[in-house]
Symmetry: C2
Subunit: 249 residues, 2 copies
């Protein structure tokens, strides 16, 4: 038990899990509860694939670049899904017209909102999660492994299990750095310095610079972690896959 | 105080608000707490515009088709934002390469997850919210009103205020209808009937059919609420805007 706030105050992304089994009943209760999340026109434009089977998880891991969290006992893949809704329409003398990007966007918002509610419920119950951003890097490979039909796109994967580590809270930029009053107030050079400069003093970040032989923390992002080359490459793959699944012409 | 689950168990979308003022301190506390939500590489790829000013809200309302919820005392627009991060990179001898769709997708996930956490925190504190899906229908108009620069895209708007109505809980399809074990199990005709048929018995839905002179509930969606014509039209607008903001070539 605990308030939403108290769950958030202590939450950390967990990438290392114990062998403790995540009970099926608990997982189903959390998913059932998560479905109370707002959904576009009450269409519930999502499906969730709960993967426990070791051989399926092994097939998924390379799609997630074998990152440590992908070794979790449970991988939960949240998919934008119009396949089910379309079938319902077709069986009920209705002609669905959801083969477009706006529909994909609606499903995407539904799906991520559901995943986030689920993650808070999981954390409230002592579980740990990690968002695997790799889901949109290799959606086609993931779809093949999980047998996703047309009109279904994996959007977010949460690795799930009981924590076997207790990482420190990560930093966040100050509120004034990202909340705007009435309209957007664009940032001056001074604003940017005020918002981000504290990051330079974090010992872990100083260590990153040294290890990677970089001059600034920003270069760690642009040159190593999230490069233009990767971004452009995975964008093409993602767009091609969204087309293939039927959401883009 | 209450657990995440208990907030969810009783939550309903609220479209009608009382005149009770939403205190600035409360709102800031909720936003600060919401920022504990997972974020891609800790980049916090979002900005939030909190609009209280009546004249700005009046300008926003038509972009949200003047739907009742758009008359809320506070409109909170959650935006995917690389503008701030890029400025930080450029001021720190780093060359950002985030003018692509994959980066947009990362920001989008960050942004929706944040919005969903915020909505649960708001509800825990007695506030009511409604997701305005119209945000991705008229993103350009919203961006103009809110003065959003390039590399910023509004994704989700939450209307916010103290409830002046107490709607009944909305229905959800059964868990087995959207949760898949290990891999996706595509739906048979019988499955679809089993999942959705209860909807036909809901008095409100029967009333919809009568009012709209339709034979099936699905036709209400395809012919009235979410038509192919609208979907195609708003898709073109949305794609053009994402290009304009710098995330698509």
């Amino acid at each position: 038990m605990g308030s939403v706030k108290s769950v958030l105050d202590k939450r950390c992304t967990i990438r290392k899990y114990s062998n403790q089994v995540v009970a099926d009943d608990l997982l189903n209760d959390l998913l059932e509860s998560a479905a109370r999340t707002s959904t576009c026109g009450n269409m519930q434009l999502y499906s969730v694939v709960v993967t426990r089977d070791a051989s399926v998880r092994e097939q998924l891991a390379p799609s997630h670049f074998n990152q440590p969290a992908s070794q979790a006992p449970v991988l939960v893949t949240f998919c934008a899904d119009y396949n089910r809704f379309n079938k319902w329409c077709l069986q009920n003398k209705a002609v669905p017209g959801y083969d477009n990007f706006e529909s994909f966007m609606s499903a995407l918002v539904d799906t991520v909102a559901l995943a986030q509610t689920f993650s808070l419920l999981a954390e409230e119950n002592g579980l740990g999660i990690c968002y695997l951003g790799t889901t949109t890097y290799n959606p086609k490979e993931i779809a093949q492994t999980l047998k996703l039909p047309k009109m279904v796109v994996p959007v977010v994967t949460l690795s799930l299990g009981y924590p076997d580590e207790q990482p420190a809270l990560t930093d966040r930029i100050p509120l004034k750095g990202w909340v705007h009053s009435d309209v957007y107030h664009d940032y001056t050079e001074q604003d940017i310095d005020d918002i981000y400069s504290y990051k330079n003093d974090i010992p872990e970040n100083k260590e990153f610079l040294k290890i990677n032989n970089k001059e600034t923390l920003a270069q760690i992002f642009t040159d190593i972690r999230y490069t233009k080359k990767d971004g452009d490459f995975f964008s093409e793959k993602l767009i091609a896959f969204i087309k293939e699944q039927g959401f883009l012409k």
